[in-house]
Symmetry: C2
Subunit: 315 residues, 2 copies
């Protein structure tokens, strides 16, 4: 038997077949057409499921569960997307509608960041744990909380917005409307902003920096230039690490999870990122010198497939 | 049948009898003598339990459960206090030792802030909820998290240190060693510091303020003077409210609990405190205008007895 996981994004709908060993064995994606009515998007999701099966030489009868990772506020119990800004979903019965299209019962949904955290908890970096937290460092900072082997969303399904903990009152404006959110300091977007600010500073001061040669500034620019020995780039990187570590220590103090996994574009920096963060997180976490068992900080394992795999494993 | 709750503090050991309707019917306290060996403290706790029963005209046979609210890192599963700084407990088998003293089996322990949160969840301001958070605004800022009708402590029992989330990177030094913790802005201690700073400012500027007349500055000074129309006091109060609200909005974004209850000395300000906090918390919380069900902010109900009642209801 197989499972299907669908990662419903603002740009693409990616779906995959997951086998009994939790391996993603086939993947396919189509444009979302986010401006369309929800029903049209659901019809395309159904076609995607059927196509995946056909291409793999199986039928929907070989599928035991379907899961959907969706943006916005997802009600796990009812399968309704309460609200998703970029898809114009309001109280949209996503699971029920896809179920009707496919004549299929076992369909679960979760918020995309939560589904990714679930994927990492069941089949990825936090496999084998009971309590874990995943932080996604991408365009924003996403969060997923797994407690007692369940996704934690709060009573109204809107919790785990870990990017929107304020780490600097009256700080940098955040896309959410608050000021000083962790997201405004620790997303890839924030890293790019810090890099651009430093480049402007270097230009103004006539200071040499490899970052000035970058054709297009990305989240990697400061990291790459720092590794090539650039001092200004190291200042950017150190500042970024400082804020990221502060937020992670806060996550430790709140949750003391077995594992915190880091995903998203910035996590491609790999183990060196963990090595730079861990001493600061350990030092800042409450009771650091006293408690024997401390949460582990790991790079997420499932990459961009975490949402698909996590969704597939919801049911 | 009755239950006994013991609140083991650094100064006093308070214990109480709780009846079948979760009412505290008798209370007694003795000095802790925190400098003594743990075994001597446990012997006194046993005497306190027997005395409570004798004074109420019952025996230990009428007790169905005993619970202890202890400072430090409490392992709920084993009854061992992993570490409590102010009592010199290290891996101290508190439940087992008291059980031996009393020949009594059903003894549970919890961290004091967590026990208070449990008390409010079961018998206080958050009664009837499944997920709630309690914040204690006292000498420090304590936190307790109830998820799925269980105290959440993290895998190493050291979580829920909600006072030690950083809300201002590089901010005011905190007793924990970090800088900028919520506790350093929202405890009663912080309110007193802000009041003293403003008094000094007024003195330096020759500005009149009712706060200058205070014999001894307390957490109530700024609140009382503000209500009497003092402008400088209102500046202190507004600043305090701003930081407290920011942290509470962060708690909402993380947990979206049904209820957040506020305890500790500052919560004696009552409903007016909630009325001043709520608009800011609502505005700062993620997706405020979109989600129908929002967490309620309430003043805790059990006052100083929350630890005793919560402990009694652990077993």
């Amino acid at each position: 038997m197989y499972r299907i996981g669908i990662d419903l994004g603002g740009t693409n709908i990616a779906a995959g077949l997951v086998d009994g060993e939790m391996n993603l064995v086939r993947k396919k994606s189509i444009p979302t057409g986010a401006e369309r009515a929800g029903e049209a998007i659901v019809a395309d999701m159904a076609t995607l499921c059927r196509d995946l099966c056909a291409e793999h030489g199986i039928t929907m009868d070989d599928i035991k569960a379907i899961g959907i990772a969706t943006p916005g506020v997802a009600n796990l119990a009812t399968g309704v997307v309460e609200y998703a800004n970029n898809l114009h979903f309001i109280k949209f019965p996503l699971a029920e509608l896809l179920g009707k299209e496919l004549s299929f019962d076992n369909i679960k949904i979760a918020n995309d960041a939560n589904a990714a955290a679930w994927g990492e908890a069941v089949a990825g970096a936090a496999k084998g744990t009971t309590n874990s937290v995943m932080i996604t460092l991408g365009t924003g900072v996403g969060g997923g909380i797994i407690i007692d082997n369940k996704i934690y969303t709060g009573f109204n399904c809107a919790g785990a917005e870990l990017g929107h903990i304020v780490i600097e009152v009256d700080g940098v404006p955040c896309s959410c409307g608050r000021k000083g959110c962790w997201e405004a300091y620790s997303s890839a977007t924030a890293l790019i902003r810090m890099t651009e600010e430093k480049i402007e500073e270097c230009k103004a001061e006539g200071r040499a920096s490899l970052m000035l040669d970058a054709e297009k500034v990305s989240g990697r620019t400061a990291c790459d230039c720092m590794r090539a020995g650039d001092a200004a780039a190291k200042e950017v990187y150190d500042k970024y690490i400082k804020y990221l570590a502060s937020g992670l220590a806060t996550i430790v103090n709140i949750f003391q999870p077995e594992v915190i996994s880091l995903g998203g574009g910035v996590s491609n920096e790999g183990q060196s990122l963990i090595d730079d963060l861990l001493p600061i997180v350990r030092k800042e976490a409450y009771g650091g010198g006293v408690i024997d068992d401390l949460p582990e900080l790991r790079i997420a394992k499932l990459g961009n497939d975490a949402g698909i795999i996590g969704a597939a494993l919801l049911g």
